[in-house]
């Protein structure tokens, strides 16, 4: 990607399809020095994370508590990055035209999902067997979560990568047709003989719709498995039917947030101001506002039922996760995931800016991170998961040096993966932009210019 362009860039709405293709290809070809400097720093941080992971591995899998932050960073990347594809999938399903410039930005997170799959692997050894305790798996063979969670996660990753790849096929062919030498050869292989025939377009559109539907179902299913197997079932007495759904809502909220932040970075550092405009920020900010409210609703439904129920088991869970042990992370996450973003986004003047939604999204991402620590680190600090209810709450697990290495390394690895994926796939979906231009006209209605959108089936 190129460095920031200081000259004002024309809106894509005023560009021709040819100009869009040329502009995106030009930006995709060269990446510039700052890109590789940042990538280098991230690679160093990622290496430090590997050191942290090796330290953890050398300590063995017996001490669950030591793995709490690793589990948290895995869950965080799962929640944020692997839900991010839903931004593109859902907006494509409802045929929102304003999605076009941001579709690839969100789909590119599929590559991060592949990275996260590797973070899951050591956790499988830490996860206790399910016999003698509450779990999703009842009396299924002892290693059920180990097998099925891996399969679910694997399917999710494959489906995500398939969406990224298939949705990029026409663009890969465009790169092929506009390049020479080795680059052309590479993209020829990647483009799988795409010629843009009517049949190919039909297969692509149908394929994306089907894959999108599958991804959504896999994602909801995996949210259920990860949230219950790696958090809820490890805390005795925590029976919360809404938690998998709340976990998914947290994912959708973070998905919108991470897309907004990525869009802001692409505008700021990569000269995408002409593509990622106020329409995209405004549209996503409305979604983020709705998801903040949903976050509160799901949290409230859970908390309120527990608070009202007041059984000893429920009280001990509330004390651990909200009112005593993890009180500070709870209040922080509540403020950052709901109160502050809601207070910001409820104003249209804030929503209809670039900085407003970005600020709210950044706050949401921090809030989600603290929330995940509250759930997962607390769950991994429980020694005996076979009890009926939590009798003595363990102390709060504050991060040590190695935990910080693991967290920073994990997050750096995720960002680095995303950056490297932008070297393969153009970050703006050229064909969707061209299609968008084809389907819209500007007409004069009364005395104003108004956009007319075609609605083909």
């Amino acid at each position: 990607m190129h460095e920031a362009h200081h000259t004002s860039q024309p809106s894509y709405l005023s560009m021709t399809p040819q100009e869009i293709t040329e502009d995106v290809l030009r930006r995709h070809e060269g990446s510039g020095r700052p890109f590789w400097v940042i990538a280098g720093v991230l690679a160093v941080l990622f290496t430090l994370g590997i050191v942290g992971l090796v330290n953890l591995l050398s300590g063995g899998f017996e001490d669950k508590n030591a793995w709490g932050y690793h589990a948290a960073v895995f869950a965080y990347i799962f929640i944020v990055a692997q839900s991010a594809l839903m931004v593109s999938i859902s907006l494509r399903m409802v045929k929102a035209h304003w999605r076009r410039p941001l579709a690839r930005v969100s789909e590119m997170f599929a590559a991060v999902g592949l990275f996260n799959f590797f973070l899951l692997i050591p956790l499988l050894w830490v996860l206790p067997v399910t016999t003698g305790r509450r779990s999703l798996w009842f009396d299924f063979p002892g290693n059920s979560p180990h097998i099925w969670d891996t399969i679910a996660m694997g399917l999710l990753v494959v489906c995500g990568l398939a969406i990224l790849y298939f949705a990029a096929l026409p663009d890969l062919a465009t790169v092929r047709d506009h390049s020479t030498g080795g680059r052309q050869n590479r993209y020829r292989r990647l483009a799988l003989g795409w010629q843009g025939s009517p049949r190919q377009w039909k297969v692509l559109q149908t394929g994306l719709a089907v894959l999108g539907g599958f991804y959504f179902m896999f994602l909801i299913f995996t949210h259920m498995m990860i949230s219950v197997d790696f958090a809820m079932s490890l805390i005795p007495g925590w029976k919360d039917a809404i938690f998998p759904a709340a976990h998914a809502i947290m994912g959708f909220q973070s998905a919108v947030a991470v897309t907004l932040v990525t869009m802001f970075v692409l505008r700021w550092r990569c000269g995408m101001k002409g593509y990622l405009e106020i329409d995209q920020f405004w549209g996503l900010s409305k979604l983020l506002l709705a998801l903040c409210l949903l976050w509160f609703y799901f949290w409230w439904s859970s908390f309120f039922t527990y608070w009202y129920g007041r059984t000893p088991a429920e009280q001990s869970v509330l004390k651990l996760l909200m009112t005593e042990t993890y009180r500070i992370p709870f209040f922080l996450s509540f403020g950052l995931s709901f109160v502050v973003p809601f207070a910001l986004l409820m104003w249209n003047v804030v929503r209809k800016t670039i900085w407003g939604p970005t600020l709210a999204a950044t706050i949401v991402l921090v809030g989600t991170f603290i929330n995940i620590i509250r759930y997962y680190v607390a769950a991994y600090s429980i020694k005996d998961s076979t009890l009926h209810a939590l009798e003595i709450a363990p102390p709060i697990n504050t991060p040590g040096f190695n935990d910080i290495l693991v967290v920073v390394g994990g997050l750096a690895g995720a960002v680095l993966t995303y950056m490297l994926a932008t070297r393969v796939f153009p970050v703006i979906s050229m064909w969707e932009m061209r299609e968008g231009l084809l389907l819209q006209r500007v007409r004069t209605f009364m005395k104003i210019n108004i956009r007319v959108m075609a609605k083909p089936e």
């Binding site: 509450r134 999703l136 009842f138 909801i220 259920m224 029976k239 919360d240 039917a241 809404i242 938690f243 998998p244 759904a245 409210l293 609703y297 799901f298 439904s301 859970s302 309120f304 039922t305 527990y306 009202y308 129920g309 059984t311 084809l438 389907l439 819209q440 006209r441 007409r443 209605f445 108004i450 956009r451 007319v452 959108m453 075609a454 609605k455 083909p456 089936e457």
Partner: protein
Amino acid sequence: MQERVKLSDAQINRDLLRSIFETPKWYLILVGTLGLIVLCGFAAAGFMINQGLGVTGLNRPVMWGFFITNFVFWIGISHAGVMLSAILRLVQAEWRRPATRAAEVLTVFSLMTAMMMPLIHAGRPWRVFYWVFPYDWARGVYPNVRSALVWDPAAVFTYLTSSILFVYIALVPDIAVARDRSTGWRHVLYSVLALGWRGSVRQWKLQIIAGILLSAIILPIFVSVHSIVSWDFGMAMSVEGWHSTVFAPYFVIGAVHSGVSAVVTVMLILRWMFKWEDYIRLEHIEALAKLLIVVATAWFYFFLLEFFFGLYSLEGPEIALREMQVFQEPWKWLFIVFLFTGYIIPVSMWMFRSVRRSIGLMIFTTVLVNIGMWLERFIIIVPGLARKQSFSFTWGGYTPSPVEIVIIGATFAMVSMLVLLFAKVFPLIPIGDAKEGMVLADEITIGKVKVPAVMREE
């Protein structure tokens, strides 16, 4: 939109006001028949009040039966109004236009009907006023302000008030159209209700802003109503299967499922009765069917969560309750019917475009959904109560009496009758919205094809 027909303003006025100014014979027969059923319902309720609750099938420990099931059901139906009107208005879905008024009206009438059910259930309805006025919680025998049962009327009345306001604000321009074309008492009535509407730019601006603001304000009320209804159950610790954290969203999404289905049923019947084929088009029904697939699947997900986490606790009584619901007579038959009619049959059928565009099959499937959703509430309420006590010798069963069946049947007749009476006084398809849709409709030529297009609302 694909199948729209270009209609003039005069044609729209004529078509949509026909139901007001013309009274076909079938209308009188239908309303009369429904009125008779409603009267039977009132007579049955009067009989019950006179004789006492002994004439119902309610008995310890099952003290909530058909009436409370029906209360939850009608509250659920009322959720269609906001779902279709407020949410689709906020997201500017073009295909919402013909459906909004019917959905809003259904909301108001189903809420009124729902509110009658606890009064009838009380056996001696006048006593409700003793409980509430003067409100005295000091002696402990009066309703507890901390109880979900007390929050319930507050939420439902707030929803009813705001829904009436919502319907009325959207109706004002249409009432003015009716005013300008009526004479006699109708003209006087419409003149008063139209609040001096002249269609000035300022009036339209205020009307649009009011619609958007009310849509946004009514959304939290919409969510709160069924959440609180769900907490009537969720906060009851002593009944197995009720104390679940997922109940609030599960009830809300279930309400949307049954409510939107009911709106589709009503729209299709009205389309046939009043010959509104140019307004309620197949593309609208198809869009609603697609929405229903999403809503139904979301509801099914919450149902699975609710059911599954009942078993997750590995507690004997909870597992026994689930066994009873799924494997024991007669509950297993009700459970199978509920599952097939509430989700499996309709959603499988809606996957096919031919079904989504078939009037008969859409009426069939949406009615099935509401059979299933009624049973769902019944299966949640009664089996849990039947085994409420810890000792098995205190367990009981429940068989509804004819009195209850007549009253429940009458509520369906009452809502249908009220919708028909409303259609006699006010247009059931928003005239202003239909005209706006015509203005915003356009066409774009791409290559050799003319593609339907729409001006983007900002």
